[in-house]
């Protein structure tokens, strides 16, 4: 069998030189001790961030009108979640990489129907409120055209609505049962009961916060807080942490693509899918580096290795 030609970027020369004592276990032990000490020092010096979680209760008490406006978009199906598409619902195709509708292919596995899950179902858990029960019955019995017309009327009136003295004042005259429902939902939210109803919809034990998180993400309370802390996507926020702690700095390349054209401009609608696709290609290039001519020759050509092995070359 013919011997293949030696390729300096693929093959390594056979080392025939000296060996020297090297205590790897001692080295490892020292490393553990040093890292442990450094960890303790950093923890004592800087502690760690822990900004309390937001609740629908805090949101609806801080900015009730933002809460009501968001809840209305959940009911009439115009919120971010309601129009999201897979994996939550089939209101849209979801993002695409060219003709590839990856999200759609994977299907709707985290079913969310915002009108029912965020508004109607939680309201139905409230007992002993005859006016609300009647409103819910009326709403359930109405045609979708009828509902849409009530919702449109209420949404329009919401612009001049106010919240004062613990009550919601929206002068909608042709909104059917919607005003009663929205007032009840707001009261429920402000008491904290909505937070609870959203997580316990499937039973007592829960570890799934998909619904309250989607609901809150549709409003502007969570996002405004993030903006103030420099955490938004367009602020390279993925790398950042609450307070002034260092964050996930290693996400710099991923978050960078979102800031530059065409991802930030003409590809914007599918930016997530395209940035991911791009990052996967780059990652593949990194992983397959040893097999990629050109890329794998860079280390030999930039000669940084001469610094690392300078003793070796000096003695050679």
């Amino acid at each position: 069998m013919a011997k293949k030609a030696f390729n300096p970027d693929v093959d390594a020369p056979v080392y025939k030189g000296k060996y020297a004592p090297y205590d790897i276990i001692k080295e490892g032990t020292i490393a553990v001790v040093v890292v442990a000490l450094l960890t303790v020092v950093l923890a004592v010096l800087f502690s760690s961030p822990d900004e309390k979680a937001v609740t629908i209760k805090t949101w609806s008490n801080a900015t009730p009108m933002d809460f009501v406006a968001t809840a209305m978009t959940e009911l009439d199906g115009t919120s971010g979640t309601a129009t999201y598409g897979p994996p939550y619902n089939n209101a849209a195709t979801g993002q695409q990489v060219g003709p590839l509708t990856l999200a759609k292919w994977m299907g709707i596995n985290v079913n969310v129907n915002t009108a029912n899950d965020f508004v109607v179902a939680p309201l139905s858990t409230l007992a002993d409120q005859p006016a609300l029960t009647t409103a819910l019955t009326t709403f359930a019995g109405a045609s979708s055209a009828q509902r849409a017309s009530w919702e449109a009327d209420y949404s329009k009136a919401l612009g001049t609505g106010t919240f004062s003295g613990g009550t919601l004042q929206v002068s909608a005259t042709n909104a059917g049962p919607v005003p009663v429902m929205m007032s009840a939902l707001t009261a429920m939210a402000r008491s904290g009961a909505l937070d609870q109803a959203l997580v316990t919809a499937k039973g007592f034990y829960t570890t799934d916060y998909t619904k309250p998180l989607l609901f809150m993400a549709d409003g502007s309370f969570l996002a405004n807080k993030a903006q103030a802390q420099h955490l938004s996507g367009d602020q390279w926020g993925m790398m950042n942490e609450t307070g002034s702690y260092p964050g996930q700095a290693w996400l710099w390349l991923y978050t960078m693509w979102y800031q530059v054209p065409p991802f930030s401009t003409s590809w914007g609608a599918n930016a997530d899918a395209l940035v991911w696709a791009f990052m996967m290609i780059l990652t593949l290039l990194l992983a397959l580096m040893p097999w990629i001519p050109g890329l794998r020759s860079i280390p030999r050509k930039v000669k940084i290795y001469r610094l690392i092995w300078r003793e070796h070359y000096k003695n050679a």
Partner: protein, 203 residues
């Protein structure tokens, strides 16, 4: 003629292991003279930081996910966990740069490089699931933002970043297991192959 004992799976496994990785290769007492640079300590430092990350994570696990919000000691252990993670990534990235500039995949060491890259990805995933498992405002914001990226790939159908239980399991069971297993393969492969020799300089 091979005996029954020679044909045993157990015997064959032992022979293969001992042949590929005899004790003096697993725990060598010398290194080639060219192993003389601070760059070489970043692999071990990454390994040490991984150990501290896991140790502090285990302490947090003992008391459950909400403990650190409620107790000063818990918060301190959380700080230890966070800073050991920062050291871990710090060391790992320098390790990666070093190995790249040595082209340390040469001489049949491609698997070491590839497991390294996969370890980097696993670690990013472990860090991410950790951030979304904090059960505070940071995790709310990160998860509601990150969902769009993951959903766009179709991954959201199986990996729901808004499901705390799921994320916590990935963070404290699946990804640490993967990281430790991959690290074992990575380091054992280095021991089998030995440290990559320098480029030959043609004068």
């Amino acid at each position: 003629m091979s005996t029954e004992i020679d044909r045993q799976w157990t015997t064959r496994l032992r022979k293969t292991v001992v042949e590929k990785l005899p004790p003096d290769k697993l725990l060598p007492d010398t290194q080639p003279a060219y192993v003389a640079s601070w760059i070489y300590v970043f692999g071990v430092t990454t390994l040490a930081a991984l150990a501290i990350v896991i140790l502090t994570g285990c302490v947090l696990a003992m008391k459950g996910p909400l403990w650190w919000h409620l107790s000063g000691t818990g918060h301190f252990v959380n700080s230890l966990h966070l800073w050991s993670v920062e050291i871990f990534f710090f060391a790992m990235v320098i390790h990666l740069w070093g190995k790249y500039f040595m082209a340390a995949w040469r001489g049949g060491r491609q698997l070491t490089w590839v497991t390294g890259v996969v370890l980097f990805l696993t670690s990013v995933g472990a860090g991410f699931t950790g951030y979304v498992s904090q059960t505070n405002y940071d995790s709310q914001w990160i998860s509601t933002q990150a969902k769009d990226g993951i959903n766009a790939t179709g991954g959201g159908a199986i990996f729901n970043v808004l499901n705390l239980g799921q994320m916590l399991m990935w963070h404290i069971v699946l990804l640490p297991l993967a990281a430790v297993a991959l690290t074992a393969v990575h380091v054992i492969y280095v021991r089998i192959k030995g440290v990559v020799p320098p480029f030959e300089e043609v004068k």
